[in-house]
Amino acid sequence: MKTLSLFILIVCFAGFAWAAEKSLDPSAPDGLRKGGTLTETLPAEPIADEPRASGREVRNWPEQPPVIPHSIRGYQVDKRYNQCLTCHSRTAAPEAGAPMVSVTHFMDRNGQTRSAVTPGRYFCTQCHVPQTDAEPLVGNGFKSAEEVIVGEGEDSK
């Protein structure tokens, strides 16, 4: 009896040791912080820099909302005030040297052009974003309109 219980105890311990060796901590999905396991908390990447003035970028297709070539830290865009329009509004743009918001922003849902930016196009950052120096998270096979057209031309040859 005594030897049997001792045997069972040893088996149990061996079992525990085996289970402990086999990890119960599977690897985490590759999200923003790559690598690591589910229970691990990896340090965050440094926050990407927002350049103060990066210069205007070429649009990749005609309808692309142009990206913002300057920092917009602390810009207030809400019911009370739209700070972007301080420079980009129709009246302020020439003096500020900023491009005026496109005329499509003045059109209401019936295509009627209004005198001010319509509520539907009021919140700039819904479409326009500043560019940071961050590396793309995943690979991207995007081709601009020109590249696609050139490629098609080659295919048909």
Binding site: A53, H70, Q76, R80
Partner: protein, 198 residues
Amino acid sequence: MKRLRHYWSLLRRPSVHYSLGFLTLGGFLAGIVFWGGFNTAMEATNTEQFCIGCHEMKVNPYDELKTTIHYTNRSGVRATCSDCHVPHDWTDKIARKMEASKEVWGWIFGTIDTQEKYEEKRRVLAEREWQRLKANDSLECRNCHEFEFMDFTQQGPRAARMHANALAPGQDEEGATCIDCHKGIAHELPDMSGVHQR
């Protein structure tokens, strides 16, 4: 009236019990204590801790300040409430402190003790500050941001152009000052309809 006359004659008579040395030295020491105490108490009302001791200051303007560059930035040089809202000059400071009695009134009667009331008065409060800064040529900005020492080559091209053309003394016929463009840098802006923006 009779008592007043009595005190007046008492003041005019030479001292009987106290020596001249005691009176002058005592007066001098009492003066130091009084002046030091007065200034210490006034400085205490200039601290951020004092300002946000009131609920309405803590949850409204202070909370809005927290996301701005005047609260937190890379080098840790920051502005507290009084740096922008109280003149540094002594006489102007005293004048502002006397004005602040109206703020005590507002605190007692809770003029802005809810978010809704604050929102309602936001434009009024903002306009008062714009007016003050316009009138003193943005003195509280210039206590730290001195035009003479701005390096335009380190500024963005647009900022450099604006500062060199509008802000430079004698360049602008209207006499532009910091607050003309830099509104809402430390707190959220009110409804700006009708406000002339440069």
